[in-house]
């Protein structure tokens, strides 16, 4: 048996032992996966992945290939380790692995579409000094479980934008990253929810000077649910992280943000900012925020802020006093509320696409 096959076997056993998380598992308090899935659970089906044109310079490997290159075996299944990740590793028939060799800057963005139902895996390796821009779209036709691992070598840089379409079913995933010294991860997650939608990000800032900038917007209506759960680990000193997540929930929707920042012992000079804000637009919507700090070093700068509220009455009045009807004024302020979480998207064209999707979702909501 190859090492990879052994790791898959281990994942199968591990998931069988752990089972699906219930609400009694602290991290899943606001996302009742077990009851959303019902009897069927996540199933054992494998999902499809589609790459829309492979930019030049990028290496590709099929995870189904038992003789995958060494760089695949070195990383696959090493970062993502939660229960649902284990099940995706166990049940995904292959999946894709991509590598940007050392020093390569890929100019063309990589467009990736994740769709269908079932389990899928993705491994992305950026070697030292490599850079890439990843634009991901996708939906889920049924219960979908993705396990994504991203390895960033020294000085590597990844821009990542996720634009999901609203999904009718259950969608869960773990995105696990490891950043070496001075590596940079800049990511935005635009989410419109599902019956249950959960994106869990585990980001380990392993090398000095590593930095992660995360942002995201959620616009939820009907009985949509969207959960963004992040865990930023400042494993060493001089590491930086910022997070800005904005959520709008109407109908009977539920917006969830859980963010844990851990600063390890001795990680002096770690700097972390975390902000999560939610707007509720209906009597039946709900927002749950849990920004968490776990600090084991004293020479750090860590702050978080969270707020749930209504639109600012003064601003609303100001706009109305200038002749803007209330409905338009509200729409304007809601757009403005979300807009500042979009500024983190570096490419103008991509930001435009996200803004459009947000606009459509808001129009449907209000």
């Amino acid at each position: 048996m190859t090492a990879l096959a052994a790791r898959r076997e281990e994942a199968r056993t591990s998931f069988a032992g752990r089972g699906l998380p219930t609400r009694r598992v602290e991290d899943w308090k606001y996302s009742d996966l077990k009851s959303a899935l019902g009897e069927a659970g996540l199933g054992e089906e494998a999902a499809a992945t589609r790459i829309m044109g492979l930019p030049q310079g990028l290496e590709f490997a099929d995870l189904a290939d038992p003789h995958a290159p060494a760089w695949v075996a070195a990383h696959l299944g090493t970062l993502a380790r939660n229960a649902v990740s284990e099940s995706s590793l166990a049940f995904a028939e292959g999946g894709i692995a991509l590598r940007v060799p050392a020093g390569q800057a890929i100019a063309t963005p990589l467009a990736l579409e994740l769709s269908g139902k079932g389990h899928l895996r993705l491994l992305l390796v950026l070697e030292a000094g490599a850079s890439l821009s990843l634009f991901e779209t996708g939906d889920a036709a049924g219960p979908r479980n993705a396990g994504i691992e991203i390895v960033l070598g020294e000085d590597a840089s990844l821009d990542h934008v996720r634009l999901s379409r609203p999904v009718p079913g259950v969608q869960v995933e773990e995105i696990a990253l490891s950043l070496a010294a001075r590596a940079r991860y800049n990511a935005h997650f635009a989410s419109f929810g599902g019956k249950l939608s959960r994106t869990e990000l585990t980001i380990a800032l392993e090398g000095r000077g590593a930095q992660a900038q995360l942002s995201g917007v959620s616009v939820l209506g009907g009985d949509a649910h969207a959960d963004i759960t992040t865990h930023l680990i400042h494993a060493t000193g001089n590491t930086h992280s910022t997070q800005l997540f904005k959520k709008v929930a109407g109908g009977k929707a539920r917006a969830v943000y859980q963010g844990r920042v851990t600063v390890a012992k001795g990680a002096d000079g770690a700097d972390s900012r975390q902000t999560a804000k939610a707007l509720l637009l209906s009597e039946t919507a709900e927002a749950d925020l849990k920004p968490e700090l776990e600090i084991f070093a004293d020479d750090v700068k860590c702050a978080h802020g969270a707020a749930i509220g209504d639109l600012d009455a003064d601003s609303l009045f100001y706009l109305q006093a200038r002749g803007i009807p209330e409905a338009d004024a509200r729409a304007l302020l809601i757009h403005a509320f979300l807009e500042d979480a979009l500024t983190n998207i570096t490419r103008d064209d991509v930001r435009g696409m996200v803004r459009n999707a947000v606009g459509q979702a808001l129009a449907a909501l209000t």
Binding site: E26, L280, L289, L293, D298, K301, A303, H304
Partner: protein, 485 residues
């Protein structure tokens, strides 16, 4: 770290336990239950207190429930498994032999008292020295009782209230912290042996600040106190709870329950300065403080305010909370939690907004030093009917040294679009330049640390009644001595 007296008591009890193998001791002369916890222990305690049948039934129901419960493990505290059968649940203090002079008391303890500015007489009382001759606590209590009687305020040990005011006790006991609430509260319901009952009638502003200090036998309160404070419509009461006597016990369990009820337009202010024995510099000994405190703003326009200064205990597990049931009710939580050496504190609050126009405010200052772990854990939950609810939370952590931990775990939940919740948290350390500035102006290191930390805690200290604030400030300094350098 047990005092010789306590060791002696325990040995005596152990011996009796061996002799009487058939359960518990009924001899009226015996003021202690044998080791362990059973229905018999519960019956023994109830009988000792001369309780009516309904109270015993209540306790037994709690005990049976407790047997089915599991100890909570979600807090960030670690301690060896507690053997609940290896403890004493009732030992009347009166049989504890009193020390004859201060010479018999641990000098370290006396040093702390001195620093706190506690007068000699009180030092003796707190240290368990025979003080009847010099300190007439009975007459002190009597003077206050008369004044309170005039106002119609009931302020007495809970066992007395069960006897004298059974209807009032029945009406409120277990209505804020239900018997089934949590493992430690349920345990307390079964075995509580002491505590305070306060009832302030309609429209009465309690003529003085009530304090456990003025209660008879205050220095010997049990490990399982139960306190109930009821403020009837339009009344006001301020209650001070001082645990400024460092206990000498080895890893002793302290599981208190406090229930507050504020009716329409009533206000309760509850202040605690907790300095139970924290264990030594190496983490040996110290109190396990598992406390359930909850206030119910049952009436419209009612207000409950918790202020706590937590410097003691090896382990603190405590979340004084407010249920904001009445419209326009207000809940406040002001907290200073200091953890030094090997202390572990997991403390915070819950603000449950049920009524319309309810407001809450949380100011938490956590200080970690040595190898301690300090966690703020809080919940702000706005329910669907809590129109226009407001919350503001500020959680600041200060770290002294690189071997300790400071953690913030806020849960923020809203189900009403008109509610506004704001939460902010920061983490910082005592800056080297602040310390040097103080030293350069001639202020010694420990005093400088105390000054800076007291500045950091100012917003909370301001909430304490004057004489408590002075004491608390000194405590802040004492509990951090030697933490820098």
């Amino acid at each position: 770290m047990s005092s010789p007296a306590q060791i002696e008591t325990r040995e005596a009890v152990a011996e009796i336990g061996d002799k009487y193998k058939y359960g518990f001791v009924t001899d009226i002369e015996m003021d202690m239950a044998p080791k362990g916890l059973s229905e018999d222990t519960v019956r023994f305690i109830s009988a000792k207190k001369g309780e009516p049948e309904w109270m015993l039934e209540w306790r037994l129901a709690a005990f049976r429930r407790w047997l089915t419960m599991k100890e909570p493990k979600w807090a960030r505290v670690h301690y060896p498994q507690i053997d609940y059968q290896d403890s004493y649940y009732y030992a009347a203090p009166k049989n504890t032999p009193l020390k004859q002079s201060l010479d018999e008391v641990d000098p370290k303890l006396l040093e702390t008292y001195k620093k706190l500015g506690i007068p000699l007489n009180e030092q003796m009382a707190l240290a368990g020295v025979a003080v009847d001759a010099v300190f007439d606590s009975v007459s002190v209590a009597t003077t206050f009782k008369e004044k309170l009687n005039e106002a119609g305020v009931i302020f007495c040990p809970i066992s007395e209230a069960i006897r004298d005011y059974p209807e009032l006790v029945k009406k409120y006991l277990g209505t804020v912290v239900p018997v089934t609430d949590n493992f430690f509260a349920t345990l307390n319901s079964a075995v509580f042996s002491d505590g305070t009952f306060v009832y302030v009638p309609k429209g009465v502003r309690c003529p003085m600040e009530l304090s456990t200090y003025f209660r008879i036998n205050a220095s010997e309160t049990g490990q399982f106190e139960r306190t109930i404070i009821v403020a009837d419509e339009g009344s006001y009461v301020s209650y001070l709870e001082g645990c400024t006597a460092p206990k000498r016990d080895v890893n002793q369990l302290h599981a208190a329950v406090v229930e507050l009820v504020a009716l329409d337009h009533a206000e309760i202010k509850y202040s605690t300065v907790q300095n139970w024995y924290p264990g030594d510099e190496n983490g040996k000994g110290g109190i396990y403080n598992f406390v359930t405190k909850r206030g119910d703003c049952r009436g419209d326009h009612s207000k409950i305010s918790w202020t706590q200064v937590e410097t003691g205990s090896a382990i603190t597990w405590k979340y004084p909370s407010c249920i904001l049931r009445g419209d326009h009710s207000v809940g406040e939580f002001y907290s200073i939690a200091i953890a030094n050496h090997f202390q572990q504190a997991d403390t915070g609050t819950k603000m449950i907004h049920l009524g319309a126009n309810t407001k809450s405010r949380i100011i938490s200052k956590g200080i970690s030093a040595g190898k301690a772990q300090n966690t703020y854990r809080g919940l702000v939950s706005v329910y669907g009917k809590a129109k226009n609810a407001r919350n503001y939370t500020q959680c600041d952590s200060l770290l002294i040294g690189g071997a300790c931990g400071a953690h913030t775990v806020p849960y923020i939940e809203s189900r009403n679009p008109t509610a506004r919740i704001e939460h902010e948290a920061t983490t910082s350390k005592i800056a080297e330049d602040q310390l040097f500035y103080c030293l350069q102006r001639g202020i010694p290191q420990d005093e400088a640390v105390s000054l800076i930390v007291n500045g950091f805690c100012k917003e909370v200290l301001q909430q304490l009644p004057m004489e408590f604030a002075v004491e608390a400030q000194k405590l802040v300094g004492i509990s951090l001595e030697g933490s820098v350098g």
